[in-house]
């Protein structure tokens, strides 16, 4: 939000108009928003042999998006969001396995409705509380559903799950192929629809009220907001979306087991969201995709210890980008807008001595360079050996280059500002 930046420009005249203009224009689509969608479509053509990965990534984006609605906007911390993912996944699975209902779109709708219903009922009770109690109760929801499935393994298939589910052709025409091409476009289409809905909600007065609840629930009560109703509403919507993501998961994999309810699944989606940035819509995209890519690569590098890499990244993100990767990007672009590109790195790190600033920008540039190098590698190396062989050189080059550029820019900037400061003192 470039709020404070804009307010400084406000002169006495036209102050009202500009203030109003900010809110009036805020919900309009910006060109940059096309980027993730274009990338998703480009991926379809560039990496046709990686559609399975693409499908999983898009599903996780949707799952993370559903969590963002309650966590990022309404401030509800849930460690059991897999409950709704699981309900959606099992709705589709059971419809096919037990009722022989395999039409994809109507199954999605059924999954949304059932998980939404369970979200509504559990949310009604859970959302009377706040903080830790909510975390524990959401956790309990997922565990209880998992145990219920375990108890009636004659229906759910237990931990062996429901294998070999066959889905009917999409619209009765397009068959799901082995490589997931049709499925990729199908999932992308559903994601686009869901995203549009979430985006409308986020920019609506209702969405505003949710951020109000997140920011200060006491004040919301005082201005007459029906807080419980708002929270249950958004929890229900979020549950329904998570259910759709789960349904797509089953349709994509053609099987489902009780592991969808695992705590791992709830935790994973939260890590993704925090990594990408909460409360900013596209954070779900960046977080889920980066996480999935890392998981893919690190698990190839070290099948046993790959989670260490994820953990390290999460710690780094919390330390240096507390508002997620997207928050970091926004910060950089906002700051550079305000005082030139160099100011970005400077303000971003510490407001300390010059050497700290320079060292900081070097580290920062190196990190960005490394990520770019890392990403550049993705999609080109198909074999582990190939990947390991190519990574050090390329990543190192990018890292050094990033560090060098950031440091140089900052050095120039500092020279300028210290001279300006000297002039200020002189006058």
């Amino acid at each position: 939000m470039a709020a404070s930046e804009k307010s400084r420009e406000l002169a006495a005249t036209g102050a009202r108009e500009r203030a109003a203009g900010y809110l009036v224009g805020r919900h309009r689509f910006r060109p940059a928003e096309a980027l993730p969608w274009l990338l998703a479509i480009a991926a379809f053509f560039l990496f046709p042999d990686r559609m399975t990965f693409g499908n999983q990534a898009l599903i996780m984006v949707m799952f993370a998006l559903s969590l963002d609605l309650i966590l990022g906007y309404a401030g509800i911390v849930s460690l059991g969001h897999a409950a709704f993912f699981g309900v959606g996944a099992y709705t589709v699975g059971l419809l096919i396995a037990r009722l022989d209902w395999s039409e994809p779109l109507s199954s999605l709708l059924a999954a949304a409705m059932l998980s939404g219903l369970i979200g509504f009922v559990t949310g009604w009770f859970i959302l009377r509380y706040r903080g830790l109690t909510v975390i524990m109760l959401t956790l309990a929801t997922a565990i209880m559903l998992q145990e219920a499935g375990n108890l009636r393994s004659d229906i759910s298939g237990g931990y062996d799950g429901l294998p070999g589910l066959v889905i009917s052709p999409l619209f009765g025409i397009f068959d799901y192929d082995l490589y997931g091409h049709v499925n990729y476009l199908y999932v992308l289409g559903v994601l686009a629809v869901i995203f549009y809905m979430v985006r409308r909600i986020v920019y609506s007065p209702f969405g505003q009220a949710l951020t109000g609840i997140r920011e200060n629930v006491r004040r919301m009560h005082a201005i007459g907001s029906p807080v419980h109703r708002r929270l249950v509403t958004v929890y229900t919507i979020s549950a329904a979306i998570a259910g759709v993501a789960g349904a797509l998961f089953t349709q994509t994999n053609a099987y489902v087991t009780l592991t969808v309810f695992d705590f791992d699944n709830s935790a994973k989606v939260m890590v993704m969201l925090i990594l990408g940035g909460t409360g900013r819509l596209y954070g779900a995209f960046i977080g889920a995709v980066v996480y999935m890519m890392l998981e893919d690569h690190l698990s190839k590098l070290s099948p046993t210890f790959w989670q260490f890499g994820i953990g390290l990244l999460l710690i780094l993100a919390v330390l240096f980008a507390p508002r997620g990767l997207l928050g970091l990007v926004e910060e950089i672009s906002r700051k550079s807008w305000r005082r030139g590109r160099a100011g970005a790195a400077r303000r971003l790190i510490w407001k300390g001595e010059h050497w700290t600033v320079l060292a900081g920008s070097a580290v920062d540039g190196a990190a960005i360079g490394f990520i770019v190098g890392f990403a550049a590698n993705f999609g080109q190396a198909h074999l582990l050996s190939e990947y390991i062989a190519s990574l050090p050189g390329r990543a190192l080059a990018f890292t050094c280059f990033g560090a060098l550029v950031a440091t140089a820019i900052n050095a120039i900037y500092l020279a300028f500002t210290s001279r300006a400061a000297a002039e200020d003192r002189g006058s």
């Binding site: 406000l10 505003q208 919301m220």
Partner: protein, 259 residues
Amino acid sequence: MTAAALEVRGLNRNFGALKVTRDVDLTLERGARRALIGPNGAGKTTLVNLITGLLNPSSGKVVLGGQDITALSQAQRARRGIARTFQINQLFRGLTVLENLCLAVGERDGHCNNLWRATGARRVVIDEALDYLAALRIVDDALKLVRELPYGRQRLVEIAIALAQKPRVLLLDEPAAGVPSSETHLILDVVANLDPDIAILIIEHDMDVVFRFARKITVLVAGAIFTEGTPQEIMANEQVRAVYLGQEGHRVGGGVRHG
């Protein structure tokens, strides 16, 4: 005969064995300008919390415009016309000032039930929100995040939000608390010029402000109403002087502030 704006009848509140509010009767007429004073710990804020529904009374009732609202929640009471400011700011710190106001207007008129139409598409709401900011002369801060504002300005936002609720009864809990003395006049000017139709109850320690603003003063001591009267009567009351006005830091006319 028209009903009083706000009536409190036989209100009690106990925290365990501790009686923080005892048999309080209070009537605010329409357009009342009432000050509630009393030593620290007299239960002034508790009384406001009981009236707004943040706390439930142990016994007694709260009547708004002839309607018993004792059983209603805080939000329901707010929608019926009770607004308050808090002793310590309760604002949406991560949102802009304008968004803070839009929320108050939006919740008042039920716009916030809308999940589909963008906030920015309702120009009426934005314009009204800006009107309240203009009235308090803080339009220039409209796009600043609340947490970036100096505390005194934040106090004004607090008042603006309460006004945006279009209240019938307004409860101001030390509106100038925590504000540097160079800026208190800003807030006190605003308070002095509020809509004459709103019944206002103000908790304030500064006796200058109290005597200038209030047409009637209620003195609360140890949770019970000690006495009530016009500023002249209160000033002349020896007992009040003994329990309250004589205390250090509350010199009449001295203008000594504390937060």
